[in-house]
């Protein structure tokens, strides 16, 4: 049995479209099946073929919260992969490279294993393209990852392509194994079998989200392809029909959200997913959903903006847009997903909020979360009970008022087909019955109050959902949002281990804000850091408007997520100032 403190980062780099990602994915699944927790990260080029791709998987004997810091094992298929990633390899780390492709300068303090991957694949298997399977064989044997897991995986993966293909890949794997056996080991890295015995799933954030949507009762999805959200549509196109649902690939994002609103009006739970540019196009319809009080879920898997920006890179840059986009007083709910596991439950909650309050819910994920894979416990569908919208009673339908002013500001909502429930879903300001009342000043005030009147109830839920961790009475506080939860948590643990008093708050509903939780949290620490993967500090800015507090921003804006160390370093820097009682300086950091 392996040591539960095992914690290794593997990174595979090479030419895009040449199997780098599939190598990484197979390694990931194999490690998960071998009993390790895993956490992946991938960057890939915007080009379809060519360009540089890399895939990283961290495997450990304990729950993982981030993709880690330094690389333990780099598998470099070419010179470019080596050049790009060598500086991330920790001292004493391992570099396995294709000796047919290049020769690295052996001067970095790493341990090098040159394996002639291309010639082994060409000569011993007869198929050059199997070089990545040869590499897997090498890694498996060299680092003692159980071979059976890989061979099973190869059979599953290539089984559909016929026995021949399976055999060729098994041969390639064995060629790699044999090569490892002839190579003298000069490092200490050894995995064996991981400690986890219970079954877990290996899911990406997008897959987890899509599964959660199905569990929440979503049966219609309309969307337009855009990186990094597309795989949600492709996943649901395959799975929704099995449950009687359907996916439409619309002609654009305006149509996508229009279709969602139409479907919701007609009584179905519906969703769309997009990224920044598509979300921009949806803005006008978001307002329609708000004023017509239609439940809808809109996912924004954020990527780097503005405009088409950096399509395959990550950022938390759309928060302002999620909260403020649209003209007029336009209340919507904004949530952010925090982890692969949370993507499942988070999306269920998003549907619940949409249904319960009859309002569009914007859910922010991002490229790093949507595309990373992690081991997660098999979802427990009873954890978030599914909520349905309020339907009119027989009495409501006698003289039906769709937008009736009620004590809790939520009106019973009919659907076509219901006798007596006819009304017009209105984009114009309207009365309780749905009649346009575009000139009635007092009615506009009342209607606006109705739409915002739901917020205090949402705030109660927002407070419930906001999570705290670390020191309960910290000297240094951290407020994070979205996909940074794990990495912040890991940094907090690092800091606590070093004796710093650090605690964090991580709201899941960002708008309306969990004011009570925020207030209580903010009153404690001597300094508060807000780490965000964006340039200006969008959440920090929103919070400054509610709290006259000098938050310290930590912003990363290079299209990559934080590493734990980056956050830890900031904590340490701030802690030193706080200890020296120079909070004024700390606040300006």
């Amino acid at each position: 049995m392996a040591d539960p403190v095992i914690d290794y980062v593997f990174r595979v780099g090479g030419e895009g479209g040449e199997g780098v990602i599939s190598t990484g994915e197979m390694l990931t699944t194999a490690l998960a099946r071998a009993g390790f927790e895993i956490y992946t990260f991938r960057t890939y080029p915007a080009e379809i073929k060519g360009g540089h791709a890399n895939f990283q998987v961290r495997a450990a004997g304990k729950l993982l919260l981030s993709y880690g810091d330094a690389v333990d094992v780099l598998l470099a298929f070419n010179q470019e992969a080596y050049d790009k990633h060598v500086q991330d390899v920790r001292p004493g780390g391992v570099i396995v490279y294709d000796a047919d492709s290049f020769t690295p300068p052996a001067s970095t303090g790493a341990v090098f294993y040159g394996v002639p991957l291309t010639s082994l694949a060409t000569e011993k298997v007869g198929i050059k393209l199997t070089k990545n399977i040869v590499a897997l064989g090498f890694l498996a044997d060299f680092f003692a990852i159980p071979s059976e897991v890989f061979t099973e995986l190869l059979k599953e993966k290539f089984g559909r392509k016929g026995e021949m293909v399976v055999q060729k890949n098994l041969t390639a794997f064995q060629v790699g194994v044999d090569c490892a056996r002839q190579t003298k080991k000069q490092d200490q890295i050894k995995l064996g079998v991981g400690p986890r015995k219970t079954k877990e799933l290996v899911l990406s954030g997008n897959e987890s989200l899509a599964l959660g949507a199905i569990a929440a009762g979503c049966r219609i999805y309309a969307g337009y392809p855009i990186t990094p959200a597309t795989d949600i549509m492709e996943f649901l196109a395959r799975e929704l029909p099995k449950l009687g649902g359907f996916v439409v690939q619309t002609e654009d994002e305006i149509s996508a959200i229009g279709t969602v609103l139409g479907a919701s009006f007609a009584g179905k739970k519906a969703m769309t997913a997009t990224s920044g540019p598509g979300f921009s196009l949806m803005t006008e319809m978001l307002g329609l959903g708000v004023t017509a009080e239609l439940p809808a879920v809109i996912i924004d898997v954020q990527r780097v903006g503005p405009s088409t920006g950096m399509p395959t890179k990550t950022e938390q840059g759309d928060l302002y847009h999620a909260v403020y986009s649209g003209h007029g007083a336009c209340p919507r709910i904004v949530m952010a997903l925090t982890s692969v596991e949370d993507s499942f439950y988070g999306i269920m909650r998003a549907f619940n909020l949409a249904e319960q309050f009859q309002v569009p819910v914007v859910v922010l994920s991002d490229a790093s979360l949507g595309h990373r894979k992690a081991t997660v416990p098999v979802p427990d569908m009873t954890r978030v009970p599914v909520i349905e919208r309020r339907r009119p009673s027989a009495a409501d339908l006698i003289s039906y008022k769709r937008y009736r002013f009620t004590p809790d500001h939520v009106s019973p909502m009919s659907a076509p087909g219901m006798e007596g429930g006819g009304y017009v879903a209105e984009g114009l300001e309207h009365t309780e019955t749905g009649y346009p009342a575009a000139s009635d000043h007092q009615n506009h005030l009342r209607s606006t109050q109705k739409r915002y009147g739901k917020f205090p109830q949402v705030e109660v839920i927002a407070n419930d959902l906001a999570r705290t961790y670390g020191d309960p009475k910290p000297e240094i506080g951290i407020i994070g949002w979205g996909s940074t939860e794990g990495v912040i948590r890991e940094a907090v643990e690092m800091a606590q281990a070093k004796g710093y008093s650090v605690g964090a708050l991580h709201p899941k509903i960002l708008y309306p804000q969990p004011l009570a939780k925020l207030k209580a949290f903010i009153s404690g620490p001597k300094a508060i850091i807000i780490p965000e993967v964006n340039y200006t500090g969008q959440f920090a800015t929103l919070l400054r408007k509610r709290f006259a507090y000098d938050f310290i921003q930590l912003n990363k804006c290079i299209g990559l997520p934080f590493t734990p160390k980056e956050i830890f370093d900031k904590i340490e820097e701030v802690a030193q100032h706080v200890r020296a009682n120079t909070r004024a300086v700390a606040a300006k950091l």
Partner: protein
């Protein structure tokens, strides 16, 4: 679709909301024709959804006793598609203006046509932007003088009928709001048509583009012996811009979007509807 007694009359579909249109507006004729055909087909108000965009025509859902959706400028078709997809048993009628449909919403029409959902799309074509006070529209003639074209329109008008035939709509027809009885017949056939039925209605704007005098001189019934399945002949009629041809230009039968969706669902459920747990197992 015949409903229970008491029988529905055209006025049964009237709401208490009085149309805000200018007296003499062509849209009254369209509304009357719609009432008539709904009564003729005994469409149950609870199963009817009228979806509109923005413009004078956009107010139509408020005037029809049914479910309605007054959406955004140009967005009739996406919303209507969502409604139909959610509940294929509904009778869905989309209404819009020529600006609504062909300018801002122009990108949706080809896709609605090729998807072929079972719905009706009525354009109230007054060749002007009525609600915003008479600017030129995509169907305004060259030389049309208005607020935004004080020296006359320099653009060529679109040909909605030719466009829809080209897009592959399975039902393409034209009516005139001044002939509500004939129009009602066309709308009835459009509702009965299984698939995407497009009806362009010449509906004069009495205030900004009063064509009541010129249109009647150009009216012409589509030939008695016109073969509606002949696409080339349908184009010929559509390209006859010297006249306003009234009637069905083109009608063919194609699978509808909902039928396609139902087939996909059937295919996906071939081995029985899976439980979510079974989908989970794909990821272990």
């Amino acid at each position: 679709m015949s409903g229970p007694t008491p029988e529905l009359l055209p006025q049964s579909y009237k709401t208490d909301e009085h149309p805000i249109w200018c007296p003499g507006c062509g849209d009254f004729g369209v509304l009357d024709a719609v009432y008539k055909s709904l009564a003729g087909l005994q469409v149950q108000p609870k199963d009817l959804v009228v979806v509109s965009g923005i413009g004078c025509s956009g107010r139509t859902p408020g005037f029809v006793k049914s479910y309605g959706f007054h959406s955004l400028h140009g967005r009739v078709l996406p919303v209507a598609l969502g409604v139909k997809l959610a509940n294929p048993s509904l009778c869905v009628i989309g209404v819009g203006g020529d600006g609504d449909g062909f300018a801002i919403g122009g990108g949706h029409i080809p896709h609605a046509a090729r998807r072929n959902p079972d719905m009706v799309y009525v354009i109230m074509d007054n060749s002007t932007y009525g609600l915003t006070k008479g600017q030129y529209s995509p169907t305004s003639p060259r030389g049309y003088q208005a607020g935004s074209t004080p020296y006359g329109n320099i653009e060529q008008p679109l040909n909605p009928l030719a466009m829809l035939i080209a897009y592959g709509a399975t039902f393409v027809a034209q009516g005139y709001s001044g002939k509500p009885r004939e129009l009602a017949d066309v709308v009835t056939k459009a509702i009965e048509h299984k698939g995407f039925a497009f009806v362009n209605v010449i509906s004069p704007c009495i205030t900004f583009n009063n064509t009541y005098k010129v249109i009647p001189q150009k009216l012409k019934e589509t030939p008695q012996d016109h073969d509606v399945t002949n696409r080339a002949k349908a184009f010929e009629l559509a390209l006859d811009t010297a006249h306003v041809q009234l009637g069905i230009f083109y009608q063919v039968s194609q699978p509808t979007f909902e039928e396609g969706a139902a087939e996909v669902i059937q295919k996906a459920q071939a081995s029985g509807p899976p439980r979510l747990e079974e989908i989970f197992s794909e990821f272990s």
